[in-house]
């Protein structure tokens, strides 16, 4: 038997498709059977169809600092990642739990008693020195306490197959548009694979988000609140997604210059004059949101926006100041926050993290710098990340002095041997590392869209999956409860 999977190197890491010994995991049997029937030419043909679909629809993202071709198409791997119902159940419970606790923490911090800080669950100085902490957000109300209305919780799977939280994205997590577009493309490219399985749909994300946005409208807004998506503009890396979301929800996509604040009321300029706005799903960073309060040179924002929010005339989503909770040093305290606010044990464990201001932990980390991953606490998108085992000596030496100069500015983590997934690379199927970003929406309650964005590091051995760093993606299929065939009936 010779097919695309012959000679696939299962490696010694956790493989999503093959159990140790090369046995196909039950929830992948259907797909693997199908792949075995395909030739390399079949797959290439389907890749061409996929590329044509994406290019024509302009599904692209922008890479900063890249001169040739401002836009790239997002690279979707044709082999989907499949998550069985019982695994998804754990992920879903874990993400809901985590987002619920983080929302409680942020609401407590900005409009509450700051109980967690007073009781020392998180050190006060740590909160106050977080780059994402915003004094300006004190007293800005958020209905239902849904300060992280949209969050993306990055999960990885370690060598034992345990899902762990790698980081929380609580400011402006992006990627949901790719989840929806990947699914739409896959149903066109590999329709028969879907027909055979019970894959849970994802296309209700738009209505779900709109419902949540309306749920957090200020009480004065009445029963038909006006929500808008606020984008920095067409040159932003995630502009495609901003436009996509506005279209999915059927609401206006506005830029800062479309909005005007008068008497603490926000309106948008329309062809028929000014129209009041109640909820702003902003995809602009805190720093650029309101030049009166934050960076005065920002042309992207709206002067007076924060005062309108504080007056309770408009709700800004996600809330201002969320960055304090996805600071990578505060991340280390999230399990404690879950215990403190919810009285529960965390469903999804963190990755072992070292805090470098602690002299003992720092000393140990500096000893083992070549074995660990070091991350700047406030960056996202994989920028500034150093992977010890892959780094040059000079790089490590420079890192060492940066850590010593600013120990609060970095955390170190054990290298997680990210699970691998068979991936189409240059006409062959090889194992590549993957992660998973499920998206949660908090309105009146927290919900998770089944699946999420599976990102794949396309370079062999690379652990960095961010699209800005040359990563691709996979459609992520969460199976319905009854979809996994009974192994006995299947004949093994």
């Amino acid at each position: 038997m010779s097919d695309l999977l012959t000679g696939y190197d299962h490696g010694d890491l956790f493989d999503e498709v093959f159990a140790p010994g090369g046995v196909v995991r039950p929830h992948y049997r259907e797909l693997v059977g199908r792949v075995r029937d395909l030739t390399a030419e079949d797959l290439e043909h389907r890749e061409r169809i996929r590329d044509a679909i994406f290019r024509t629809q302009g599904i692209t993202f922008t890479v900063y600092g890249d001169d040739d071709g401002v836009e790239r198409t997002f690279s979707l791997d044709l082999l989907p990642r499949i998550i069985p119902a019982e695994e998804w159940d754990v992920i879903e419970r874990g993400v809901v739990q985590r987002v619920t606790a983080l929302n409680r923490f942020l609401d407590d911090l900005y409009v509450g008693e700051q109980a967690a800080v007073h009781e020392g669950v998180v050190p006060r100085w740590l909160v106050h020195t977080a780059e994402g902490f915003r004094r300006e957000a004190f007293g800005i109300p958020m209905p239902h306490g849904a300060r992280c209305l949209v969050s993306g919780v990055d999960l990885v799977r370690d060598a034992q197959g345990t899902y762990r939280v790698l980081e929380d994205n609580l400011r402006n997590p992006s990627g949901i548009s790719y989840v929806l577009e990947n699914r739409a493309a896959m149903t066109r490219v590999l329709p028969r694979a879907f027909a055979a399985q019970r894959v849970r749909p994802v296309d209700h994300y738009g209505p779900m988000l709109l419902r949540a946005l309306r749920a957090v409208a200020p009480p004065a807004a009445g029963d038909q609140p006006v929500a808008v998506v606020l984008t920095p503009g067409a040159y932003n890396a995630a502009y495609f997604e901003h436009a996509f979301l506005a279209r999915q929800m059927g609401i206006e996509l506005v830029e800062g210059r479309d909005l005007v604040v008068d008497e603490h009321v926000v309106s948008m300029r329309t062809t028929a004059g000014l129209q009041r706005v109640d909820v702003i799903y902003r995809r602009i960073d805190d720093d650029f949101l309101d030049p009166v309060v934050f960076r005065p040179d920002s042309l992207l924002g709206v002067p007076g926006l924060l005062s309108a929010a504080r007056a309770g005339n408009v709700t800004i989503v996600n809330a201002v100041g969320n960055g304090v909770a996805d600071d990578k040093a505060v991340y280390a305290f999230v399990p404690d926050l879950i215990r403190y606010y919810l009285g529960e044990e965390p469903v999804l464990p963190n990755v072992a993290t070292y805090l470098l201001w602690d002299p003992e932990q720092r000393a140990e980390v500096l000893e083992r710098l070549d074995e660990l991953v070091v991350k700047p606490v406030a960056a996202s998108g994989g920028y500034g990340l150093v992977i010890g085992p892959h780094a040059q000596d000079e790089e490590l030496a420079a890192l060492r002095s940066r850590i010593e100069a600013d120990p609060r500015g970095f955390v170190a983590q054990e290298v997680v041997a990210l699970s691998r997934h068979p991936t189409l690379v240059d006409g062959r199927i090889e194992g590549r590392h993957v992660d998973l970003r499920p998206f949660a929406i908090a309105g009146e309650r927290v919900e998770v869209i089944p699946g999420g964005l599976t990102r794949v590091a396309l370079r062999r051995g690379s652990l960095v999956v961010n699209s800005s760093q040359g990563g691709g993606s996979k459609d992520t299929w969460v199976l319905g409860a009854e979809a996994v065939p009974d192994p006995a009936a299947d004949g093994g």
Binding site: T56, G58, A234, R247, R257, D262, T271
Partner: protein, 328 residues
């Protein structure tokens, strides 16, 4: 609808129309020159530059400049690029099909190595551009509800087209006057039909009609005669010709009336006046008052329409006290 997006759609309508018209006129000029004495070469390109409002430069390759030059803001490529950016900014307001056609057109024009292909054989590309632009309107017309988005897109297109036809007639009319002297001025003596156009003129007017994509329609209406008065009447006053100025301004008036939705509207008044100055006019009157001043007058009216549209739909300010102090 957001004022900025309305303006983007309006501008996109203009740019798509301009790309289509430019591709068509470049194609016609290029091919008409293949059968002309070489002395007319520079002349014809210069005339086209005048119609398009571009400036000819010495030793200029007009073809390259008007089609694929990114640095020329009125080239086909620049117009399509702008239109795509604008449509991209309103993707949530237009149909996906519309976006796909315009994105495809942009991808085609951005292909590398196209310049050589155009230099050797421009027809294929130019015809492709025209077909794509017509497809864009076909798709828009078949997939978009007749809402504000549609109306602003259509409005931009109609006003651009009216302006282009005006300039086309104006430039060729001027050229004929220069060539033939005042004695052959159109309509002299109030008897335009009595003029016997020379063979050179015949060629000119055929080019004008072709440039307005109206030659076939003209022949069906007027048969073989190529009377300058008929051509002018057809291109300016004909109520049923899609590229006549009267047709475009009537269309623009209907769009603006729908957009104003019963409000008192300066834009509607301005476009109504401009439109009426054609609708209730006889061609002999145009010649009696002089075609050149008439064309200047109608263009000035159209500029007032543009200004009224911008003021009424695209620029709003809060009436609050602080803002009132800030803006005079």
């Amino acid at each position: 609808m957001l004022a900025r997006l309305a303006e983007n759609l309006f501008t996109a309508g203009r740019d798509i129309e301009r790309a289509e018209a430019t591709a068509r006129m470049v194609d016609i000029t290029y091919h008409s020159l293949l059968e002309s004495p070489s002395g007319e070469r520079g002349d014809a390109w210069e005339q086209l530059h005048e119609v398009l409002g571009t400036v000819a430069e010495p030793d200029d390759d007009a073809l390259a400049r008007l089609v694929l030059d990114r640095g020329e803001p009125r080239s086909v490529l620049a117009s399509v690029t702008r239109a795509r950016e604008h449509v991209r900014s309103v993707r949530e307001l237009v149909s996906t099909e519309l976006w796909e056609v315009i994105n495809d057109l942009h991808l085609t024009l951005a292909t590398t190595g196209l310049a050589r292909q155009v230099d050797e054989q421009p027809y294929h590309l130019l015809a492709g551009v025209r077909r794509a632009c017509l497809t864009i309107y076909g798709v828009a017309s078949d997939t978009m509800p007749r809402d504000e988005a549609w109306r602003f897109l259509a409005l931009g297109r109609l006003l651009e087209r009216a302006a282009m036809t005006c300039r086309l007639v104006q430039v060729h009319h001027q050229r004929l006057e220069q060539l033939s002297g005042p004695s052959r001025r159109l309509g002299l003596g109030g008897d335009p039909a009595g003029l016997e156009p020379g063979p050179g003129d015949f060629h000119q007017w055929v080019t004008v009609l072709k440039s307005a994509a109206a030659l076939e329609a003209y022949r069906r209406r007027y048969r073989a005669s190529m009377d300058p008065a008929d051509v002018v009447e057809f291109l300016l006053l004909e109520p049923d010709l899609p590229r006549s100025v009267a047709f475009c301004l009537t269309g623009a008036r209907l769009q603006l009336e729908a957009l104003a939705a019963g409000r008192r509207s300066r834009a509607v008044r301005e476009v109504g006046r401009a439109s009426a100055s054609l609708t209730y006019r006889d061609v002999s009157e145009l010649f009696a008052m002089g075609l050149a001043p008439f064309l200047l007058d109608i263009q000035a009216r159209m500029q007032r329409v543009d200004a009224a549209i911008a003021g009424e739909f695209f620029r709003h300010h809060p009436s609050g006290a602080l803002h009132a102090i800030a803006s005079p």
